[in-house]
């Protein structure tokens, strides 16, 4: 099976296998999915590492991401330029970090990055407010939103700076039994 395909060299496939949680077949399948997002943009032959990036607007049309309220943030987090344009490397990286075999620590790191909207390595109340609004699509009144944000920070903040650092976030996530099963996209 591996000798017939011309999309990747064997060396590339080995590199993908070492750097992600996917097998060769899954990497090839992912390439198929990546290509169907933009068939005119993405070439079939990746052996010479073409520098192609699929824009954010196309990536979020994928059925796995379409209904997710955080789809923009997820794609931005995994893009190298920070604007959501994913190369194939970033694409594979994204689904590898969110797959079933990905360890808890890695998922926690990326979850923190996703919820940190202003990218200052802290989840402040403004970030929480945006998270909550995306979650409930504006069904809560503004004072309810403020109340929830205050309470959430109060519960999770351990070092008393009224925002969540990574260690606060990690400590809180370790107590959540559903995190691992919820933070998981199957492709």
């Amino acid at each position: 099976m591996g000798n017939k395909q011309t999309t990747f060299t064997d060396e590339q496939l080995e590199a993908y296998q070492d750097c992600t949680f996917f097998t060769r077949k899954e990497v090839l399948r992912l390439h198929g999915r990546y290509r169907e997002l933009a068939p005119h943009l993405v070439p079939l032959d990746f052996t010479n590492n073409p520098d192609i990036k699929v824009p954010l607007t196309l990536i979020v049309t994928m059925p796995e991401l379409k209904e997710n309220p955080f789809r923009d943030r997820i794609v931005e987090t995994f893009s190298e330029d920070g604007h959501g344009n994913l190369s194939f490397n970033d694409f594979v990286d994204m689904f590898s970090a969110l797959c079933e075999t990905s360890p808890r620590e890695l998922k926690t790191i990326y979850a923190f990055k996703i919820y940190d909207f202003n990218r200052d390595n802290f989840i402040c109340k403004e970030d929480l407010r945006k998270t909550l609004n995306k979650l409930t699509k504006g069904e809560l009144t503004p004072e309810e939103v403020t109340l929830v944000c205050d309470k959430a920070v109060e519960e999770a903040d351990l070092d008393g700076d009224s925002k969540l650092s990574f260690s606060d976030f990690e400590n809180m996530i370790s107590k959540a039994p559903d995190f691992l099963s919820n933070f998981h996209i199957r492709i």
């Binding site: 750097c19 097998t23 594979v92 979650l135 519960e155 650092s165 400590n171 996530i173 959540a176 919820n182």
Partner: protein, 735 residues
């Protein structure tokens, strides 16, 4: 961030100290780079020889961009230094082992049944329902592998060596005991075949399906010998051991996740905000429902703190809010009990319980004890019904036609009716008992499990009573052969038939309920816009009762496997049919539940209940092996005093030392010290686990304390700075 700190600083009045604090915080932010960075300096040579297998693992789990990871990998590959041949051999071995593991994983994915279906179910209905289907898939695989085991060691040798082979024991018994003629006499009508298929009699009775057909033979060639009875026995024992190991292995993975997360059921705000969205959620409807769920949970949480000061109004507000939310979400009041969040109700009930006077408490406890007795009485009543039905059915066995079929199936019908009615009544009793919701759920589940498993035990007990004449081998009917040879010329086949009928009836009832109850209900609710129809609503997929049904079915198969070797195969087919039926009903007739099961702890719980069923079946098997005399007219163990006695007899043909060694292992001189050793090892592991748990709790508390310490120190600094500032101001004002 900076504006907030500045605000703090201006509030406290002393800018200078705050400046230094801010800069300290900023520097800590920079140096505390939040997530583990990849250690460029570590090379495989510096680590131990397992570096080559650790390198990929570290690389995969490192939070770098892919291009960086590939660069690091290239660097590390180039950095491989000159090592000794032994080290390089070890490294190569580790690499090939990893490749083998990856290839096996790819290969197993081919056999992963129904993975797309399960993904769709999980996305649309949540983790709880998906865990039920995962459990069902696990049971299908377990049954299929068990069937392969049995086929390989018992069925195929029996078929191959059917005509060959010598009888093992040449003794004979009384003539009456050896009379066994299951072949039907005379002309058999066509519809009788169908009835025989349903009840396991007639042409099915004397076939590879049941115990009675297997022969008491041993094939002994020059360099090959196969002892069929011994194979039968060992396969049965190994089948049970294999199932136990499989279940415990699966429990291990589930338990690890449950323990690691501490098992706290408190849904506080931060957890709801960050972990409640299911990223695997697919479909428009499921998404909207998920959003409503989160909104509802936050509102219910918020209500308590919003109205914290309004003690008198709180109850009214709570009731009003719940009613409004129910109406908004088109929920029926019957599912109301499932809606209320555990922590909300728990708090209310705890507060109510604490506010009772001693008198009221006494009354409540007396009421609870009484209701417990009532529930127990109901269950005992169900057992008595099963006992009567089984006796009646056994007496009337042999009747022809449809009436005969009904009499045959009478125990199954009574068991199914009992399993349906008694939990309903226990639910009503639970309303009077007024436990906290989590306790109510646990009590209901325990009662249901007790009912299902012990009703099967009652059926078996009734059969035993009739086979062994109440255990009294001296009574008139049982004196000759030590079992009731008149009614049961081949009692093992009869027991096997009962288990076969139970399995079949279970499947038929499931399909009948699907066709006759669930589809019509959906059609009525969808097409008839009536208040009554809306109040009833589409049904929910209740995970717990479905799981209990699966456990019951599997227990029946385990109990019957010794007497009906093909039962695991039938069960595999039954569970596959059940999977498709449940999936059809899920997607067409059910609506998603608002309250979702915790999928991590529920898998563990399902397996614990399955183990209860397994232990019941083991008790039955051990008793049949050791105590009851096998039938003399049929089966591979005729003429033996009990089934186990073939083992010592076969050992006599082994060499002297092997025989002595095996006898030593079986004796008390070996098993008691072994048992003591196991106890010691278990105590060690329990102590270790408790120590780890305590240290985790201590570290968590320490983390919290350090945070508080920092807050306290910051406040002290502010106070001190204020004290230093005020004399300056008074001095300045004075001037």
């Amino acid at each position: 961030m900076d504006s907030e700190i500045q605000r703090q600083g201006s509030r406290n009045g002393y800018h200078g100290d705050q400046q230094s604090l801010r800069s300290r915080q900023v520097s800590s932010r920079v140096s505390n780079q939040n997530y583990p960075q990849f250690n460029w300096s570590s090379t495989p040579a510096e680590d131990d020889v397992e570096g080559s297998s650790e390198m990929p693992r570290d690389l995969r789990s490192s939070p770098l961009h892919m291009a960086l990871k590939r660069a690091v990998r290239q660097v590390q590959q180039m950095q491989v230094p000159v090592v000794s041949s032994r080290e390089s051999w070890k490294r190569n071995k580790a690499k090939s082992l990893r490749k083998l593991k990856d290839n096996t994983r790819e290969f197993l994915y081919l056999f992963a049944l129904w993975s797309k279906s399960l993904q769709k179910i999980g996305g649309n209905f949540g983790g709880g329902v998906q865990s039920f289907f995962l459990f069902l898939r696990f049971l299908v695989v377990l049954n299929f592998v068990s069937f392969l085991l049995i086929a390989g060691f018992v069925l195929i040798p029996s078929i191959v060596f059917r005509s060959v082979g010598t009888g093992l024991v040449n003794s004979t018994g009384p003539e009456e005991c050896m009379e066994y003629d299951p072949n039907p006499q005379g002309l058999v009508l066509f519809y009788n075949y169908f009835l025989d298929l349903l009840s396991g009699t007639g042409f099915m009775e004397y076939s590879y399906m049941f115990y009675g057909y297997y022969n008491n033979t041993m094939v002994d060639d020059t360099n090959f010998s196969y002892n069929i009875p011994l194979a039968y026995l060992f396969t049965a024992v190994f089948y049970f051991a294999f199932c136990l190991i499989f279940i415990i292995a699966r429990m291990g993975t589930a338990a690890r996740v449950a323990v690691a997360t501490g098992g706290s059921a408190v849904g506080n705000y931060s957890m709801i905000v960050f972990t409640s969205w299911d990223y695997g959620c697919l479909g428009d409807r499921a998404t909207k429902l998920k959003q409503k769920n989160i909104h509802y949970r936050l509102q219910v949480r918020g209500d308590l703190s919003y109205l914290a000061g309004w003690r008198t109004l709180r109850k009214k507000w709570w009731r009003f809010l719940i009613r409004v939310t129910c109406f908004q979400m088109n929920l029926s009041p019957t599912s109301f009990l499932f809606l209320c969040q555990v922590d909300l109700e728990e708090e209310m009930i705890k507060k109510r319980a604490a506010s009772l006077t001693t008198n009221q408490k006494v009354v409540l406890y007396a009421l609870r004890v009484f209701m417990c007795l009532v529930a127990f009485g109901l269950i005992i009543g169900a057992f008595y019904g099963i006992f009567l039905a089984t006796e009646f059915s056994q007496e009337k066995s042999g009747k022809e036609g449809i009436l005969g079929l009904i009499f045959e199936y009478l125990p199954s019908i009574v068991i199914t009716a009992g399993n349906f009615l008694v939990p309903l009544m226990c639910d009503q009793i639970a309303l009077i008992e007024r436990y906290a919701p989590s306790t109510t759920v646990i009590v209901a589940l325990l009662r249901a499990v007790f009912l299902r498993l012990v009703s099967l035990g009652v059926l078996l007990f009734t059969l035993w009573r009739q086979i062994t004449c109440d255990g009294n081998t001296e009574s008139a009917e049982c004196k000759l052969c030590e079992y009731n040879y008149n009614f049961y010329p081949c009692w093992e086949t009869r027991v096997g038939q009962e288990m076969y009928k139970l399995t079949l009836f279970d499947l038929l009832i499931n399909i009948a309920v699907l066709v006759l109850v669930e589809f019509p209900r959906r059609m009525v609710v969808d097409n008839w816009s009536n208040k009554l129809a809306q109040w009833v609503g589409r049904q929910e997929f209740v995970v717990s009762s479905n799981v209990l049904g699966l456990v019951y079915g599997q227990t029946v198969v385990w109990t019957g496997a010794l007497f009906c070797p093909l039962l695991p195969l039938i069960n595999t087919v039954k569970f596959i049919i059940l999977f498709y039926c449940k999936r059809i009903t899920l997607f067409n007739n059910c609506r998603p539940a608002l309250k979702t099961f915790r999928s991590t702890t529920s898998t563990f719980f399902f397996l614990v209940v399955l183990l209860f069923g397994w232990s019941l079946a083991t008790v039955v098997m051990v008793y049949s092996l050791a105590e009851i005399r096998p039938s003399m007219g049929c089966g591979p163990f005729r003429f033996f005093p009990n089934m186990w006695s073939i083992v010592p007899r076969s050992f006599s043909s082994l060499s002297e030392t092997t025989e002595e060694f095996l006898f030593f292992i079986g004796s008390q001189a070996f098993s008691i010290p072994l048992f003591v050793l196991f106890c010691v090892v278990m105590c060690y592991f329990i102590a270790l686990a408790s120590v780890y748990g305590k240290s985790v709790a201590l570290l968590r508390a320490q983390l919290k304390l350090e945070g508080r310490d920092k807050q306290f120190l910051v406040k002290q600094i502010e106070k001190l700075s204020r004290q230093l500032q005020i004399p300056q101001h008074t001095a300045g004002a004075g001037q």
